[in-house]
Symmetry: C2
Subunit: 255 residues, 2 copies
């Protein structure tokens, strides 16, 4: 599908730009974006990942690249930022440009300027997919992303409980609203249940049961999958090894 | 301890103003703030709770007051917003003034104006404690809160995993930095372990073990407690019944 480019030629060589959003923080949006990116790269696609979560950039840590420092090179007289590469994915994040201990206490306008630089000055080259890991909420950064790039679509990540679904609804209404009008490609329900190793047949619905599934049915948005709460997924996030979605698993195949 | 009021007479009748922050979203900050407020009210204190999470206000739902609409009354010729009251706690949130399905796609400046109104125009009266449930991140709203109110201190909520601790460090560095200089009263480690009903002696450290405890020791900040992942805590959040911290439990008593 050819992306309809209005006056936004910002990423001419990128076939699909997909925003991964959640409304609520801590539902596993960065974890899912990292897994999605690695899975697409393993399938042979050219993939980029932009961490737009300016105030809590987790992507550098999730790919084990916290110490990487992107270089800047001149091409055709213009300074371009060269993304970091790991597991076949091109990565950029504000996290590569600031000290992890420092809080970036920026007003919205500074955050959006930083983001525009990561979008406009980066040398992404040809990509089949550019995934954008959005920050929680629906504010400056969201407006900037949707106003400067022609998005192919958005994927929404939620957990099954009511408070998360309420924020997922806000996230969906932001994309589908008249101000923005970006198609929602699907919903992922994360932390859907927990199965202890000692009780492989038990499912503990700590955060509720099928909340994401019910929301996707209600809003007529495809449910891309339900991911259980698995300790090794969290460990992979802390150790810089995103879990590639297993093609045979229900989530892997739906992607 | 008398709060030192510089030019900020905004809340003259409030003895202590405590910001509850986390840096990362989804770690249980609103849940802990709600429990803390209810526990303090049960001990006989006069308590207020301001939900400053403009983009994802969960407090109305967590107190079962989504349908409440605060009234505005004139006092001494000035319009004042009367907080909602439930479980002995005075509540205000942007969530009471907008439709839950609508995403508030505001730039930072609009968000801070809305917050200033909730702070300045509200009729809180005499309070022993005003808890402020901060949004995730470290941006406009944070700067506005710390610049317009003399905070007594901040409480930081985190979960044990590395990505959450990294954001908790940022949250702490924002409060202790020279720009702000607010004392951090303590750290709460939430979702510290999960114990299935069928295996009461097992602790599953899904998100890691003692991460918050180690961070509190490293930074010399008191650990106020470790809260396990308990399904009924999540159910209370969805059903509008915050769990009062049991005085005998380790967390209850440390508060
Ligand atoms: N399915 C899962 N099982 C176990 N841990 C998970 C899962 N999904 C996410 N996590 C963990 O939960 C935490 C929050 O996830 P993260 O991707 O940072 O959320 P967000 O980007 O929405 O803030 C991380 O520590 C991550 O490793
Ligand atoms: N100790 C806990 N046990 C079980 N669920 C919890 C616990 N703490 C928080 N939760 C649930 O986790 C979700 C996120 O908590 P919330 O307070 O909204 O986090 P934040 O304010 O940091 O975004 C909510 O659904 C809440 O009910």
């Amino acid at each position: 599908k050819k992306r309809e480019i209005n006056q936004k030629p910002l990423l001419p060589d990128v076939k699909n730009v997909i925003a991964v959003a959640s409304g609520k923080g801590g539902v596993g949006k960065s974890t899912v974006t990292a897994s999605l990116a690695v899975s697409l790269a393993q399938m042979g696609y050219k993939v980029g990942l932009l961490d737009a979560d300016i105030f809590g950039p987790s992507i550098p840590k999730m790919f084990g690249t916290e110490d990487a420092r992107p270089v800047v090179e001149k091409y055709d007289g213009k300074e371009r930022i060269i993304p970091v590469e790991k597991y076949g994915v091109k990565l950029l994040s504000i996290g590569y440009f600031v000290d992890p201990e420092d809080a970036l206490v920026w007003r919205g306008a500074m955050a959006t300027n930083a983001l525009k630089q990561l979008l406009g000055d980066a040398k992404w080259d040809d990509l089949d997919y550019l995934l954008i890991d959005m920050p929680p909420g629906t504010s400056d950064v969201h407006l900037t992303v949707v106003q400067t790039i022609a998005l192919t679509g958005a994927v929404i990540v939620t957990t099954p409980q009511e408070v998360a679904l309420a924020d997922a609804r806000k996230g969906i209404s932001m994309f589908t609203g008249k101000q923005v009008a970006v198609p929602v490609l699907g919903l992922i329900e994360n932390m859907a249940w927990f199965t202890p190793a000692e009780l492989p047949d038990n499912k503990y619905y700590i955060f509720g049961k099928d909340g994401g599934k019910k929301l996707s049915e209600k809003l007529g948005v495809p449910l891309l999958g339900q991911l259980p709460l698995v300790q090794s997924i969290r460990e992979g996030g802390d150790d810089g090894q995103p879990m590639a979605l297993n093609k045979d698993s229900i989530t892997g195949s739906s992607f």
